[in-house]
Symmetry: C2
Amino acid sequence: MKATETAVETIQREMTAFARRARASAGRLHPELSLVSYTLLGHLEEVDGCRATDLAAHYALDKSTVSRQVTALERAGLVVRRQDPEDHRVHVLGLTEAGRSILAQVTDRRRAAVLERLEDWAAEDLERFAGYLVRYNTLPSSEPEE
Amino acid sequence: MKATETAVETIQREMTAFARRARASAGRLHPELSLVSYTLLGHLEEVDGCRATDLAAHYALDKSTVSRQVTALERAGLVVRRQDPEDHRVHVLGLTEAGRSILAQVTDRRRAAVLERLEDWAAEDLERFAGYLVRYNTLPSSEPEE
DNA sequence: GGGTTCTGGTTGCATAGTACAACTTGAGGT
DNA sequence: ACCTCAAGTTGTACTATGCAACCAGAACCC
């Protein structure tokens, strides 16, 4: 097998293994915010508000799933849904102060945990690694919102 | 914020985004084998058989979860459970021929999908990326089975 | 204007994956 | 022999998820 194929296989296997562990660690690290919720909040902060459909597209989730997650987040007071005056069908989602604050806390805790595993990495490697991930996750054709 | 912190945050965010998409793509790519099942089969092939407990530790899953997954895989004829003659408590898991064959098929399909996204990457970048992932996922202290 | 079609979102339903706790069986030490 | 620990299984409950059906507003076309 070519080295490239091996690398590709390794990449997909390792990414998957990471994913499993991420779910587990989310439970330990921040039981108050599920991994999905955390992810959605993070995206909302990053893009400074968007529609439910955008979240669904970005994370390859069904719109019903997003709808329910958002409902839960709204009930918890972390997210607000405002009707778009332009188009009454869409709900523009945004973080509340509480949402922002919890997100910041959890992000800190997660960052500390990740940092712990990365502490002996050279800064150059870290940045290159981050760059690769971004590059990998950026879809060439679809997902114009990114 | 320091560049390192930004990189760390990016790494964890991108890894998580990847995880969501991986689940979704698994459904499209190989409906006959869930992402978990695929992952477990892959591990069994890689380490050439192991105990259920090892799988649980490796993927941070509860042993009950693994037990059920393995039961399903066994019923599907993809995995065999042999009692360890040394220790009658343990079941040594292994792939059947059918398991190996399905795994190969799915791996090919997944590799093709991943490759599609990586086609314009330089070989050097691919290998470095793979290396980073392995390095990241290798736990410093625990998980001696890796 | 009045229909058809499209889009954003919600809700009903079914299913998969998961954890936790209780239990069973076998090993190992004392 | 007894106590304790380890591997697995099973009961139970919950969460995330997708699909299908639906509703409401927008866009388009005659």
